[in-house]
């Protein structure tokens, strides 16, 4: 009786533990399947024209997405110019200047902003900029992305500054440094690796976003006419090409997908491995 019970318990143990391993295997193999399929379909569609030519009508040879690559760089670059400094300084405030009601309110709101669907953030940029400028523009897209970037960078900066030992702060103050001098010369450099990691991961995250760009920067089949004009971007190009009925465009979508995933993965891997060796990276 008792041995039968023991055998039962041991088999449940073995079965369930194997299952958990199987589930992990499934999760990881999904990643490998996605990367494999992208590499297989994307590599055959990717050529030099992709990086140097404009998108053409389906059926024409030598089509590319040069404008979308440049457009993505513009939009994401501008979003970084707005979002990184704001998020960085706000993070310094949360970690160094105050830990009371106001700071915890900001912290909570930043977390909530972080969880808001990106398409809703797009609505904000649309009603702030597109409506008043009466045109879709790269600027509106950048503002949308920077609204996503700010809470990410704020929380990451705060988190890494909090890991800087208190004794470093006390040492700087004991040597007669003022508080802002202590922050600039001691605290921020001590946390800089982590903060940089957080920033790179944040930029990687927004550079793959397409939902907030759909009705802010829109899209463009040609070279854009500056920052105040509709501008093409890689993620939106992938979307429009993938849902089109043309095989040529599907191939272009795969090529663009491969380029985008390569950028995102390189940013992620370099940030987590090279820059942040030994630092635990908190998620958003």
């Amino acid at each position: 009786m008792t041995t039968r019970r023991l055998i039962w318990r041991k088999s449940v143990n073995a079965v369930m533990l194997t299952l958990t391993g199987l589930f992990t295997l499934i999760a990881v193999s999904v990643l490998l399947l996605i990367l494999g399929r992208l590499l297989y379909n994307g590599a055959s569609a990717l050529d030099w024209n992709f990086f140097t030519k404009l998108p053409l009508s389906p059926g024409e040879a030598g089509s590319g997405m040069a404008n979308a690559i440049v457009g993505s760089l513009e939009i994401v670059g501008m979003a970084a110019l707005i979002g990184l400094p704001v998020g960085f300084v706000a993070g310094i405030y949360l970690s160094e200047f105050e830990d009371r009601y106001f700071a915890s309110t900001v912290r909570f709101v930043a977390d909530l902003l972080n969880g808001i669907p990106s398409i809703v953030v797009g609505l904000l940029a649309w009603s702030l900029l597109v409506v008043s400028m009466k045109t879709f523009s790269a600027i509106a897209g950048s503002v949308a992305l920077s609204v996503m970037l700010i809470p990410i960078v704020t929380r990451q900066t705060e988190q890494f500054l909090r890991e800087v030992p208190q004794s470093l702060r006390e040492g700087a103050l004991a040597l007669g440094a003022s508080k802002w001098k202590m922050i600039v010369t001691v605290v921020v450099p001590a946390g800089s690796k982590g903060i940089m990691t957080g920033m790179i991961l944040g930029i990687a995250r927004i550079s793959g976003e397409s939902a907030p760009l759909l009705f802010t920067s829109l899209n463009n089949q040609f070279w854009g006419g500056g920052l105040a004009q509709p501008t093409a971007s890689l993620p939106v190009m992938i979307y429009t090409h993938a849902i089109s009925p043309f095989d040529d465009w599907h191939r272009q979508a795969w090529a663009a997908g491969l380029v985008l995933i390569a950028l995102v993965l390189v940013a992620n891997i370099s940030a987590r491995f090279v820059l942040a060796r030994g630092i635990s990276v908190p998620r958003d």
Partner: protein, 319 residues
């Protein structure tokens, strides 16, 4: 961080203190900008949807008409599609994610666990439009040709699996969402499991429990708030997910009992129709849908944050 005592006032001390005060106010202004952004977001959604709110009132939420020509708008089909796909996704991703989290925190050696966790976090970094791209060209044909005909043959007597197998429907969208939410469920659950004190495991094992019994009856209940938090976090992600769902949901603004029928979600209809919407009422209705989505995700996210904050304060068994 506890504030360190200020530098005492002296001749140079005053200048130092002015510098500090300036730094403080500048930093405060940047931190406050986050609150301003959030307030702007609420204001713009509220103001932008004014026309639609006045015209339809609360009936907007319960009407299932969506007719841009006659300017009659109701949110129900989209709310239905959003909720159905998200819950269906969690039915798949929660057991799978929790199982994997258990493996990563309780079984795998530290090195293997951190390598696998790294891979799973890469899964979370893949842009949504790429999931959509893969879903359109691999999952949809597979569902249409194999999975859905099989479901109809074996379970076709249920109203859930009736109708033509299009491949673009609630079920496919839910599967894509399941894959996309798995990494969130895994990494947050794993962290809550790692935060369970070592003594809990040892005590259970010492009483003669098997490894699985100690995990399932002691460790998991101990971490249940954090695991629940991971579920809510995954739910919030699924509710607001746009691109991948838009590409496979089928875009049909009506309510179907069958999971094999094309549907629509809130995020998808905003993505599809916003640039083409003409007229104040149509735009207002789409912005109001955005407001509904905003409220949904704020509530779910708030719950998730509170639950996660409650459990992962202290970690003891760090891998």
């Amino acid at each position: 961080m506890a504030t360190v005592a200020a530098v005492p006032a002296s001749a140079t001390g005053r200048r130092v203190q002015t510098g500090d005060a300036i730094a403080r106010w500048v930093a405060l202004a940047f931190a406050a900008s986050i609150l301003v952004l959030a307030a702007l977001l609420v204001h713009e959604l509220w103001a932008g949807s004014a026309g639609a709110r006045h015209k339809f009132g609360w009936g907007f939420l319960t009407s299932s008409k969506w007719n841009p020509v006659t300017e009659e708008f109701g949110a129900l089909p989209f709310i239905y599609g959003t909720v159905v796909t998200s819950f269906l996704a969690l039915i798949v991703s929660v057991p799978l994610g929790l199982g994997a989290a258990i493996f990563l925190s309780e079984l795998a050696p530290a090195r293997m666990s951190s390598a696998l966790t790294f891979l799973i976090e890469l899964l979370a970094a893949i842009p949504s439009v790429i999931y959509g791209l893969l879903a359109i060209f691999t999952l949809v044909p597979l569902m249409r040709s194999t999975v859905e005909p099989f479901l109809k043959r074996s379970l076709g007597y249920l109203p859930l699996f009736k109708g033509v197998a299009y491949g673009v429907d609630y079920l496919t969208a839910a599967l894509v969402l399941a894959v996309m939410t798995i990494p969130f469920v895994i990494s947050v659950s794993r962290e809550s499991l790692l935060a369970v004190p070592r003594e809990q495991r040892e005590a259970a094992l010492a009483l003669g429990a098997t490894h699985w019994e100690s995990t399932w009856q002691v460790v998991v209940p101990y971490a249940k708030l954090g695991i629940l938090g991971s579920v809510f976090l995954g739910l919030a992600r699924a509710l607001g997910e746009t691109m991948a769902v838009t590409m496979v949901i089928g875009n049909d603004p009506s309510i179907h009992a069958s999971l094999l029928a094309p549907g629509y979600t809130i995020a998808a209809v905003i993505a599809n129709e916003f640039t083409e919407a003409t007229g104040k009422v149509y735009l207002g209705a789409l912005v109001e849908l955005g407001l509904v989505l905003f409220c949904l995700t704020i509530v779910i996210n708030g719950v998730a944050r509170l639950l996660i904050a409650a459990t992962t304060r202290k970690g003891s068994k760090r891998a």
